[in-house]
Symmetry: C2
Subunit: 412 residues, 2 copies
Amino acid sequence: MKKWLPAVLAILFALSSTSYSATQSKHREKKIYGTSALMVIVERESGKVAIIDSVNHELIGRVEGLGNLRHATMVFSRDARYAYIISRDGVVSKVDLIELKLANQAKVGENSIGIAISRDNKYIMVCNYQPGSVVIVDSDTLKKVKEIPAEFEKADGTKALSRTVGPLDTPDNLMIFGLMEGNGVWVVDMKQEGFPVIKKYWAVGDTPYDQLITPDGRYYLVGLLNSDWMGLLDTWKLDEVRKIDVRERRAMQNPEAEKVPLFHIPHLESWAIASDLAFVPAFGEKRVIVYDMKNNWKFVKSIPIAGTPLFVVVRPGGREVWVDNVGSPGSPEERLVQVIDVEKLEVKKTIDVGKGAIDPQFTPKGEAVYISVREEDRIAVYDSDTGKLIKEFPSQKPSGIFSTDRASKFGL
Amino acid sequence: MKKWLPAVLAILFALSSTSYSATQSKHREKKIYGTSALMVIVERESGKVAIIDSVNHELIGRVEGLGNLRHATMVFSRDARYAYIISRDGVVSKVDLIELKLANQAKVGENSIGIAISRDNKYIMVCNYQPGSVVIVDSDTLKKVKEIPAEFEKADGTKALSRTVGPLDTPDNLMIFGLMEGNGVWVVDMKQEGFPVIKKYWAVGDTPYDQLITPDGRYYLVGLLNSDWMGLLDTWKLDEVRKIDVRERRAMQNPEAEKVPLFHIPHLESWAIASDLAFVPAFGEKRVIVYDMKNNWKFVKSIPIAGTPLFVVVRPGGREVWVDNVGSPGSPEERLVQVIDVEKLEVKKTIDVGKGAIDPQFTPKGEAVYISVREEDRIAVYDSDTGKLIKEFPSQKPSGIFSTDRASKFGL
């Protein structure tokens, strides 16, 4: 008995102390939190995301190994436990925002651009530049369940594959995406067996490049790189892609406007819709254009700003629109974020955020705003009412910022 | 050595197996989930709430000991970890939706009716019938930080305390509530030191009893028990409580309408606002009235339904409005939930849910709807597209259903 006693004791001690301390350390290190108000921030150069508690403005952690995050975007599972991130090199990463780890990863294309989650939380759709297609994967396993080649007929009658952009989800569980070379818009019904393309609209305009769903969930808008209009589709009727005149956006009616290089193409998803007005970034011009959506998209006003707008974002509650300013590197304007008063339709505040400030993203109720200060390797958090800096986080080349309240919004 | 060995072994075994099995069972029983898509359902008679994962339609658990839950209502912390529930007997319970336990509890009144959380997540406001006041507590400790007596002047010049109703929060971090006997509406600024009442509107109409904030966050609407109008306050301007004519709602313009007893007073918070239309329950009549909000609240149409409406709820995406039907106990109509087509303004589907079916509440993206079947002690879940039953949960006298996506919405 004496012989084996020490060994038994050692094993028992080890067992009891290991399990006890494991439990303890687990409890000690593990912050418990709801997932409805997290900010997930893309750190482009390092292939990571930073996850921040946006109620208390505390860094929770980072998850790495997400591929080339240039222009990376993401959507959230409906319970906001997972972020699905699409990298530029065609990798979908399912990031667990509670366990702070990669839950799954799959290669879905060579060159990808957009991602959406179906209304029922079951499928993820990705738009590919290369090969020209959309891919549908299971949201749990990330296994491919369908690929839809974006085939179109060229002028000479031959067939080719188009780069695709989007996709966006609608309340009827449709997914809508654009065909860049195909000048088309396609609608997939995610409710039906086999995910059929139920509509193919052709000749919508020259080179669809980005799109949005209006906050009410009803209308789909597609921006066209080389046409003087936008396409508008009523997703209830699915009858036609109507042309909305946006010549003003290209200064055709305003030849004296100051032209500047187009440093970035502004993204539609970031357009602000407040009350019945749409706040739209001009192309390569230092202004935000206001259209009246309920009055046949009539031009209302052009609001001058410091640089060329990239993200034009409505503050929750709709009383303000915040806009970043792109400019040549090192220019004074690329430091500025400006606040437009929606009632007066004029800039009411200018905040000097820092070099390369982009992508203001509000907390769900809008009392604070997160901004990526790209060229200063930090994320800045401002009090939205006072415009005062309340917190900073070191962050390597931060870019897109995504709040988990998107989990319950259509088209985001 | 032999003597104490069994005791040591026993202790060590106990230690190791206890901590090990505790760890194990914790891991086994603990489901990890995001909190953005939970349904929290009031079980009135037993003083409990049931917490359900509304993505997979799985019961997570129950928390009990919440007081008298007759007319109980709740709000969520911004991260949706906590539900703050106000019981009829004046107890605020802070329920942890992850740890499934009571995190805190405090008595704030003798007879309470409504609850709201401030935009910054820091404070909870409760409306009391008895004593006539509103109470502000810290959202963490539930310690009282302020009580505002709802004092008004009676016709004879003497002062009295009024029952209060509401409160609702706005994007500007205001809290608004009504004074039932005082015929007033008060506005508290939650941003300012000491929470001052910054506006007191008097003579808004006879007996404010319920209220809402429009989905855009801008307008506050107050229902009046004994006046032929509603009050409308523009929270951007805070100038006046305008009178909105709702005589139609009381059949003053429709004397032939079938009158039935008013079994329940319909609640404003449940009114449906879809596109620019408001779908409003009639008082003691079997119809839903449609007003055009953008056209000075012009009466549009009266839609006949099977019983008297209690909850009138817009489906996410705004294409349908779902309404329950109250009737005399055991009547055929109290079994029915009806679906109104927003484009056609007519009932397009009637679902026989069961005895005492009330309070349809949609999942955040609307593909499923939860309904309390009070008199059959169950919660029914329907596919919103097909109207087919997809799941049931046994539940003792279920009443109000609250989805955690309210955490990022104003006035809910």
